[in-house]
């Protein structure tokens, strides 16, 4: 008797297997892991900045994170999926449980302590994956959720012990990550401010810049992208569209300030964008499956990244963009599946994307200004008082969180004291414990070369800049006083002209109003207002006020307080009443003056 097996489906299968795809993904990650080890462990060790433990730390770091997610799913398999025997080990391998941990290890700051790392990896697997039902069912990228958790809960703690900086960078590079540095100038700056502190764009390309453990090398990410696309493992459209969108938008923004092609390159080579685009945005489970869906996904990832970088206090944007777009995968796929039959059905989302790309590019470009050469847009002198040889400044400088306000006293051109009046910095304790301010005073003649406080780089840099800017001001403007508030703020009301002939006094006055300054001629006859003529009113609703016979009402009123404002033009009518009241006050106060 012959035995024939019956089964549905096709009778031949391609050799394409999930395990094959994951294998290639692992191969593509190896150079990145090796580079992460070289950059954060081996090189600092060879430089003498790290101990032996410091040398193997990056590998340990990635290893612990990987092992954690593996063990969590192993445990899950035993407890909830009732796996026994060899299946106990097979289960976490078949669910590719090690990938979230591996990725998480590569996208966290190297100074994350192990307990936090393990917590983050557990969060990534449990909340990112298992809560949704395990492999294939999760909505959000688990590794990114893990990182969001770590940064949101322990970001400050990690920052205090060095954040993203490896031992060599802590010693030598006196700045934070490129994008944090860029955020000090609202994202737009010259090559000197944005790129030169880190060397050249080649450093960005090869990855020898501060950043998360394994995401700095754009070069290796591009290599991995080419390899994975060639092996047909990743959805290549997503990273291509994503990176090009960011490039194009930042090109528009940079072009507005004649910044040249280096600027968009700087933007796409910073902030782990390449790593995020190649490895995180293409995570198969959490990205669209249809071609049109993938292209839209890439476009909106790019738009969101630019929005986060320029318009929110989050300088990086990649992580947040991907997690946000994860939510819309379902909708993008619906659009994408319909677009396969009829492309017209996807025209509206494409139109929206392009309007946003062009609109935001131009708008951010025009609304964000490039700081002028030699001046610091984040520095302001509130007041400057001169008393003999002593000059007292009240100045502010933008810090990491908000403005830092300080009083700086100079004697004979030398700083005698600095007193911080207000600040809201996260890591200010480090500044204090380092006696940074006293050391700034000590080193005031050599500040450009003076080191910042590691772990509070931005704050210390801001303080340093504040001192440098103040010294510069003294050098340029000397003892020229700067008054406080009063002088800088223009008065609301002003008498421009006043002429009397007999019993008639004619005023030309201005009053700040809704759309700008209102200029009017007000004539007094025998102590009474006889006419008001509006000479100039850039307001929008001035005609509403005039048509309402409001001026007549004002002239005839015995008490101005009884005159109601004109509805629909409250500000304008109020301002005019104010103007008249001020003029009357002036007239009555100085009736006898010429």
């Amino acid at each position: 008797m012959k035995e024939f097996h019956v089964s549905k489906g096709t009778h031949i299968r391609s050799n394409n297997k999930t395990s094959r795809m994951m294998f290639h993904l692992l191969i593509a990650l190896i150079p990145i892991i090796v580079f992460a080890w070289y950059k954060n462990g081996l090189q600092p060790f060879l430089n003498g900045d790290a101990t032996f433990y410091g040398m193997i730390l990056p590998l340990l770091f990635v290893g612990v994170s990987t092992l954690t997610t593996f063990l969590v799913e192993l445990l899950y398999g035993v407890l909830f999926k009732k796996k026994r025997g060899m299946d106990i080990l097979k289960y976490p391998i078949e669910t590719y449980s090690f990938f979230p941990g591996l990725f998480l290890g590569l996208i966290l700051p190297i100074n994350t302590s192990f307990p936090i790392l393990i917590l983050g990896a557990m969060f990534a697997t449990i909340v990112g994956k298992l809560v949704f039902g395990g492999f294939g069912h999760n909505i959000f990228n688990p590794a990114l959720l893990g990182r969001l958790f770590v940064i949101a809960t322990y970001g400050i703690v990690i920052g205090e012990i060095g954040g993203y900086l490896n031992p060599s960078e802590l010693d030598a590079v006196t700045t934070a990550t490129p994008l944090t540095n860029a955020s000090l100038v609202n994202g737009i700056g010259t090559y000197q401010t944005l790129v030169e502190p880190y060397g050249s764009l080649w450093n960005f390309f090869f990855g020898t810049i501060p950043g998360a453990v394994g995401e700095t090398s754009a070069f290796l990410c591009i290599l991995a992208f080419l390899y994975l696309s060639f092996q047909r493992v990743i959805k290549w459209k997503i990273p291509v569209v994503y990176v090009l969108t960011v490039f194009f938008m930042t090109f528009l923004i940079g072009n507005y300030h004649d910044l040249g092609i280096w600027y968009p390159l700087f933007e796409i080579l910073s902030g782990g964008l390449m790593f995020g685009a190649v490895f995180m945005a293409t995570d198969p489970v959490t990205s669209p499956t249809t071609p049109v869906g993938q292209i839209l996904y890439g476009l909106f990832l790019g738009i969101l990244t630019v929005v986060f970088r320029y318009l929110t206090p989050l300088p990086e944007g990649v992580l947040t963009s991907i997690l946000t777009m994860n939510l819309f995968v379902f909708i993008l796929d619906r659009i994408g599946s319909k677009a396969r039959f009829n492309f017209v059905k996807s025209v509206i989302p494409f139109l929206i994307a392009w309007v946003l790309i062009l609109g935001l590019g131009v708008w951010i470009g025009s609304s964000h200004s490039l700081p002028e050469e030699g001046t610091d847009p984040n520095y302001t002198i509130e007041s400057k008082q001169v008393d003999g040889d002593t000059v007292t400044y009240i100045v502010t400088e933008k810090g990491y969180v908000g403005p830092i306000r300080a009083q700086i006293i100079l004697e004979h051109g030398t700083i005698r004291s600095i007193e911080v009046l207000s600040q809201s910095e996260s890591f200010y304790s480090r500044i204090e414990s380092a006696d940074y301010i006293d050391r700034l005073i000590e080193n005031q003649n050599n500040l450009e070369e003076y080191d910042t406080v590691s772990g509070a780089t931005v704050t210390s840099t801001a303080l340093k800049k504040m001192v440098i800017n103040t010294l510069n001001d003294y050098r340029v403007n000397g003892k020229e006083e700067v008054e406080g508030e009063e002088e800088t703020v223009e008065p609301d009301f002003e008498v421009l002209e006043k002429a009397s002939s007999g019993t008639t006094t004619t005023y030309i006055v201005t009053q700040k109003s809704f759309g700008g300054k209102t200029r009017a001629e007000i004539v007094f006859e025998e102590g009474q207002v006889s006419s008001i003529e509006i000479l100039e009113a850039p307001d929008t609703y001035q005609n509403t006020v005039i048509d309402a016979d409001y001026l007549e009402e004002l002239i005839n009123a015995s008490d101005l307080n009884d005159v109601d404002a004109v509805s629909g033009a409250t500000i304008t009518s109020g301002a005019w009443k104010e103007m008249l009241a001020s003029t009357i006050e002036d007239y009555e106060g100085g009736a006898d003056e010429e």
Binding site: M1, K2, E3, F4, H5, V6, S7, K8, G9, T10, H11, I12, R13, S14, N16, K17, T18, R20, M21, E94, T95, G134, F135, G136, H137, R232, K235, P284, V285, S287, P288, T289, T290, P291, Q294, D333, R334, G336, S337, K338, R340, F341
Partner: protein, 424 residues
């Protein structure tokens, strides 16, 4: 546009061998089915003597196509036998007297083009000619139209792996096929005939080119070696660069399989009904894979035994049809019918169980009907949304199942969705 993908052809097993003939079945079992319609008027009765070519049944309804006996002999009864779509069908069992007697001895015609179009349509209807590519659709219907036919497209692509029946037939009957095409063009006033062949079939292309010179209206077009290149929509798009709504005739095109053309040749030349066809018997588990000319109604296992049988009797898979679209049968009693182009016997390896879908989107990118199978699978739980994914466009080519890295039987989900969306 997505045509399909390249998949290993596996055609070497049979395409270098000489064709065999198996015409000695003791009994033939003529299934009372046309396409998938079992609504057949039975004409033959138990005990009747039938000639080769005698009408033993006729389809009811609009497409009254006759069913012929493939041998001469006695009707011994009615039995149920497996049909290629996996179902069991009532068959007329005829005992072969090996005399090959025909009711009226017909002369062969010198020329093929002496028919009017009406006569031609009637002839191929009465000869029971149906699409031999697999669909089994009555061929005369395609010609029975008031719309002008501009192009006759001959589908000789045979894109499914392992199958070489059309190829083998063309290698043997190239002249006859060209002659038949030329006659059809003239009878039906068709402007051109295009033979579409896969570009890697070099020896066939050479052969056709050596004969085609005298036929000015017939062109040979080479198409890419991709699956499913032979799908009508794909082929027309590739060759004529047009798309259509429902039927190719909208664009003045009639598509016939090349084996169908040969059946038409036999009808035009000898007025002979369709009683035999070339079937590819292939697969690693057959001792001697071969293309065999088989009488319709022959049980497949008889042919396989004549080829030396199976390499082993256990852990094998018996497929009616090709590896992509064919159906695995529980036994080898399958009856050869006009729409059976291949019998495939494969070894049954350890099949890996389907794992979780990782949403890689491969099934979407390979689908020639532009479906999104991964979403269709998700939407099975939401039937109200299923319609917008248009699962009834599915041509069941199997590429989604073939490509799936998680080894999910994707096509079965789409077929289920197709069913659901038709019901709901």
């Amino acid at each position: 546009m997505m045509i399909g993908i390249k998949i290993p052809g596996m055609k070497k097993l049979t395409n270098t061998k000489k064709n065999g003939i198996y015409n000695k079945p003791k009994y033939v079992y003529i299934p009372l089915i046309s396409q998938n319609d079992t609504n057949i008027t039975i004409i033959a009765k138990k005990g009747d003597y039938v000639y080769k070519g005698s009408v033993i049944g006729k389809r009811k309804g609009n497409l009254r196509i006759p069913i012929h006996s493939s041998v001469s002999g006695t009707v011994v009864g009615f039995e149920e036998r497996p049909y290629l779509n996996g179902s069991i069908v009532k068959c007329v069992k005829i005992e072969n007297d090996f005399k090959e007697k025909e009711e009226v001895k017909k002369e062969s015609h010198k020329t093929l083009n002496h028919y009017t179009k009406k006569q031609f349509i009637n002839l191929i209807k009465e000869c029971g000619i149906v699409g031999l590519g697999g669909a089994g659709f009555p061929t005369y219907v395609k010609y029975d139209t008031d719309k002008p036919i501009k192009t006759l497209l001959i589908n000789a692509v045979e894109c499914e792996p392992y199958i070489t029946a059309d190829y083998a037939l063309m290698m043997e009957k190239c002249e006859e096929i060209l002659e038949a095409i030329d006659a059809i063009l003239e009878i039906c006033h068709i402007d051109e005939g295009i033979i579409a062949v896969k570009k890697n079939n070099t020896s066939l292309i050479k052969l056709i080119n050596s004969f085609i010179g005298t036929y000015l209206k017939i062109k040979l077009v080479e198409v890419p070696n991709q699956y499913p290149m032979g799908w009508e929509r794909n082929l027309i798009k590739q060759v004529k660069h047009v798309t259509y709504q429902n039927l190719p005739i909208e664009k003045g095109i009639v598509v016939n399989n090349v084996s169908t053309i040969y059946a038409i040749y036999e009808a035009l030349k000898y007025e002979r009904p369709l009683t035999e066809r070339v079937v590819t018997f292939t697969g690693e588990m057959l001792k001697e894979p071969k293309n065999v000319l088989v009488k319709l109604g022959t049980p497949a296992h008889e042919v396989i035994e004549s080829l030396g049988g199976y390499k082993r009797n256990k852990n094998i898979r018996f497929v009616a049809g090709g590896p992509m679209m064919g159906v695995a049968e529980p036994n080898d009693d399958l009856i050869v019918t006009s729409n059976l182009n291949c019998v495939l016997v494969l070894k049954e390896g350890k099949e890996s169980l389907p794992s979780e879908c990782l949403r890689c989107g491969k099934c979407v990118s390979v689908c020639p009907a532009k479906l999104s199978p991964v979403l269709i699978k998700d939407y099975l739980k939401k039937p109200e949304r299923l319609k917008e994914l248009e699962p009834n466009r599915c041509i069941e080519c199997g590429l989604c199942t073939y490509i799936c890295p998680s080894k999910i039987l994707v096509r079965e989900f789409v077929k289920e969705a197709k069913k659901k969306s038709r019901e709901g």
